[in-house]
């Protein structure tokens, strides 16, 4: 892959991940307010599974591109240490999306919501409890990462006069 193509692909996957994240975040904020066992809840849950799976796939692609073609510091005024700090947080953001997706698959599978073998009894309460807890942990983790990325962006703007609106790199 040539450099220009990789850059475009990286930028495209970043925006796709950002859009999917916003959709999943809105879905995640709304779903708990809908009573369980209602048809609306079932629809929102299925939507969550589909969008969450897409987010997982595109996060994988973004991490692959990041590892083989890491973003470069194009801001002259931003010191390397500040750049590294921010990009570690952004890289961990994608890692947390992947971990979130994997724990979500385990949660849905152990609850019998998704089945890879038709008719198989996959309900496992212990796995559901632990993977569900981790699913929640990674959600809080990426929310905290986003808050800190925004704070660093504001700090860089004030201290180094460097502006960037893309929190997903």
């Amino acid at each position: 892959m040539d450099n220009q193509f990789t850059q475009r692909l990286s930028s495209l996957t970043s925006w796709l991940v950002f859009i999917l994240f916003v959709i999943v975040f809105l879905n995640m904020s709304e779903t708990p307010r809908i009573p369980t066992e209602s048809p609306e809840r079932e629809i929102l849950r299925s939507f969550h599974l589909v969008m969450g799976s897409l987010l997982l796939v595109f996060s994988f692609i973004r991490v692959y591109l990041w590892l083989y073609f890491p973003p470069q510091n194009t801001q002259r005024l931003l010191p390397d240490q500040a750049y590294t700090q921010l990009h570690i947080l952004q890289f961990m953001l994608y890692i947390s999306f992947i971990a979130q997706g994997l724990s979500g698959i385990f949660t849905a599978w152990s609850d019998g919501l998704i089945q890879f073998l038709p008719g198989a009894d996959t309900v496992n309460h212990s796995l559901w409890v632990t993977s569900g807890y981790l699913h929640s942990v990674f959600a809080f983790f990426y929310l905290l990462l986003i808050v800190f990325i925004l704070l660093f962006r504001i700090y860089h703007l004030l201290r180094y006069r460097v502006i960037s609106i893309n929190i997903f790199a």
Partner: protein, 179 residues
């Protein structure tokens, strides 16, 4: 990517570790979730022993359904809605369902506290069970009016339902839906 690891200071990774540690605690703090299933189910005999001296009525047999359609709707709203009790967001009332975020409330009346199958109860609720707490309309009413005050350090992270009418609607709903 290698350059990140070379250039990164320990403080860069320390921030990530601190954020992850905080995130690990938040589901427990906010939702009362627990990361492991460690419930040891009580046998039927032990559950029976906890209530045998109390001579409790069978609340479900005594129930006479005189509720109008409007009453039933109000009861359901009190149990379900975000503005009401919010009970449905964690509790199930189906006979064939298992305890997930919270224990199933199917036929809860007349049962000792903390005896639902496969649910990891807080130590405080288990102590209350050992001290003789049994769920009756009166104890449920007292509990949901101010959970933290009634059973300190329990893991039901909701504010109490201050309106007595809403609490009564919820209790009626628990009985009617478990028929």
């Amino acid at each position: 990517m290698r350059s990140y690891f070379i250039n990164a200071r320990a403080t860069h990774w320390l921030l990530v570790v601190i954020l992850f540690a905080i995130a690990s605690y938040l589901p427990y703090l906010i939702f009362g979730a627990f990361p492991f299933a460690k419930q040891v189910n009580l046998s039927e005999d032990k559950i029976e022993n906890l209530v045998k001296e109390l001579d409790l009525p069978n609340y479900y047999d005594l129930y006479i359904d005189q509720a109008t359609e409007e009453d039933k709707l109000l009861e359901k709203q009190a149990f379900d809605s975000w503005e009401g009790g919010k009970c449905r967001f964690c509790h199930s009332l189906r006979e064939d369902d298992r305890a997930r975020m919270a224990p199933s409330l199917y036929r809860i009346l007349g049962k000792p506290a903390a005896v639902g199958e496969n649910f990891t109860y807080s130590q405080s609720l288990i102590e209350m069970r050992n001290n003789g707490l049994v769920w009756t309309p009166e104890t449920i009413d007292a509990f949901i009016s101010d959970p933290e005050n009634y059973i300190p350090a329990n893991r039901m992270r909701v504010e109490g339902i201050k309106d007595p009418e809403t609490r009564q609607l919820i209790i009626n709903y628990l009985i009617r839906e478990s028929q």
